[in-house]
């Protein structure tokens, strides 16, 4: 089902935006608002079809399981994965931890010896990573004696594939990186990184949190080994995310979290695990949320990810223009003209990001301030905090214009222009 252009980008389809008609929501990179279609799908499921899934044999369970697995199928199709290659998790952070903790367990002799890391092995990340794609690798390194290496960034917070290539060697076992940086908006050259990692025999882990919602994504074609994304950043609910992994890797990876629904035979001494995805989905799954996630993927497919990307590229251009129009404001990430995702982070000379955010908030503009869970990147940029404005399908040129107008007044208000 294709969604008309009018509907695809209409604020009126979003209850939150309707309820705050006088506000401009520019914090979609943190979390997105849900359209009626998604809220209604969840609500209808909760009210009429809800039951435990994959447990027992009742009709009710059957119907709910069908809805739950249907959602998995939709999400798999949306990102170019096989059904068994999509694991439901609590969020993207959880998905990344499933991989890192699974590799820890493999290294501790709990299965999949071929995936074990040993002292001296290396894990490569970039300095721009979100904490969710950094700390789990630090901990894995601590548990196994592996060494963590970070690709440096330039003065705008952007890393280069050459610097990454220089760090990768035959000691590298894992290369973990974000497809799109949530701070700089930089879009990683995934195919190049996959090639570099592959020829070194390393696994690739893609943090797709900021790409799955915003770009056409075909994980199978990209050839990454694992990927993670969250429903709440892509018109879906909180409480559910997804881990993608190549089927043979997921079938081998030890499940870090264990419990009901993941097993074949359990004795008092031991447990045998099902193949993917069940082996990872311990306990009662986020069922209603998965259904909402599926509806969100369907909604985005209906709009068409090419159209989403085109709309956001336009918004990105407007955002960059708005920021560069204000004297004393420094743009982080790819500079004017260069490709970037639909978000801008920036530093206002003489005004702390919290104060910038507060001023904009007062003008009815919701942005995000702080280190955006990327302290090492901010350290490299030489600031403690930045302000970020991020767009999505429901963002309009008027939104960006209001943002630009308010931003122009910030330094004056705080006396930083004197």
């Amino acid at each position: 089902m294709t969604i008309s252009t009018a509907d695809a980008f209409a604020r009126e389809r979003y209850p939150y935006l309707r309820a705050h008609a006088d506000r401009v929501y520019l914090d979609s990179a943190a979390t997105s608002q849900r359209p009626d279609a998604v809220l209604e799908a969840e609500d209808a499921f909760a009210r009429t079809e809800y039951a435990a899934v994959h447990r027992g044999s009742s009709m009710a369970t059957g119907e709910a399981t069908w809805a739950f697995e249907g959602a998995r199928e939709r999400i798999a199709r949306f990102v170019g994965a096989g059904e068994r290659e999509i694991v439901f998790t609590e969020n993207a952070t959880d998905a990344l931890n499933v991989v890192a903790l699974g590799l820890s367990d493999a290294s501790a002799g709990l299965g999949a010896p071929e995936l074990a890391l040993k002292p001296g092995d290396e894990i490569v990340v970039t300095t721009a990573e979100h904490h969710a794609n950094l700390i789990p690798w630090q901990r894995l390194a601590r548990r196994t004696g592996a060494i963590l290496r970070a690709v440096p960034v330039d003065e705008h917070g952007v890393w280069s594939v050459d610097d990454l290539a220089a760090l990768v060697s035959d000691r590298t076992r894992i290369v973990a990186f974000a497809h799109v940086s949530n701070v700089t908006g930089h879009i990683a050259p995934v195919a190049d990184v996959v090639e570099i990692a592959r020829s070194a025999g390393a696994l690739t882990v893609l943090d797709a949190c900021q790409s799955a919602p915003h770009l056409p994504l075909d994980l199978g074609a990209l050839g990454v080994d694992f990927a993670a994304f969250s429903a709440h950043k892509m018109l879906g609910p909180t409480g559910v995310g997804a881990l993608y992994g190549r089927a043979e890797l997921l079938d081998a990876l030890p499940p870090a979290r264990t419990g009901g629904s993941t097993i074949t035979t359990v004795t008092l001494d031991d447990a045998e695990f099902l193949p993917s995805p069940q082996r990872f989905e311990a306990g009662t799954q986020p069922v209603t949320q998965a259904v909402g996630f599926g509806a969100a993927a369907e909604h985005l497919s209906g709009i068409g990810m090419d159209r989403v990307r085109a709309h956001e590229a336009e918004m990105a251009g407007l955002l960059v223009d708005a920021v560069l129009a204000v004297p004393g404001v420094r743009l982080v990430g790819p500079q004017a003209g260069a490709e970037r995702a639909g978000l801008v982070s920036f530093v206002v000379d003489g005004v702390h990001a919290h104060d910038v955010g507060q001023f904009l908030d007062d003008r009815g503009i919701t942005v995000r301030t702080g280190h955006h869970c990327a302290q090492p990147l901010h350290r490299a940029l030489g600031v403690a905090a930045t302000t970020r404005a991020s767009a999505y399908v429901y963002t309009t040129a008027d939104d960006v214009a209001s943002f630009g107008a308010a931003l122009a007044e910030v330094r004056g208000f705080f006396g930083a222009d004197r």
């Binding site: 044999s57 119907e63 099902l274």
Partner: protein, 144 residues
Amino acid sequence: MSAELESLYRELILDHSRNPVGKGDPSTTAHTHHELNPSCGDEITMGVTLDADGRISELVWEGQGCSISMASASVMADMLAGAPKADALERIEEFRTMLRSRGAGEPPESLEDAAAFQGVAKYVMRIKCAMLGWVALEACLNQA
């Protein structure tokens, strides 16, 4: 009793579950496979021997489970003992397709008595029960 329940538990199925065909000791056959339904703990061990022409010369099984799983293994044993390997694999695929149909369409005639299990297709949680023996046989044949 509703029409649905009647179509699920046809007389043929209840009969087979009470007097199963092909029960025996699989340990003496050339190929054996153990299959488990993790959601209920039902299990089956299938044993198969092929003759020089690739026909199933021996097909025996033991197991415990619900009437659907036991009857399904029994109907299968009745139908496929003596069948060429390739034919058996085809029937297994047809049976799987029928069970995944959600009840739409007519099962092929080649499924014979096994068509009685079409009612299972409407009960997603019972599909694994009906497949248990067939999956085990498939694994045996793939070994052979």
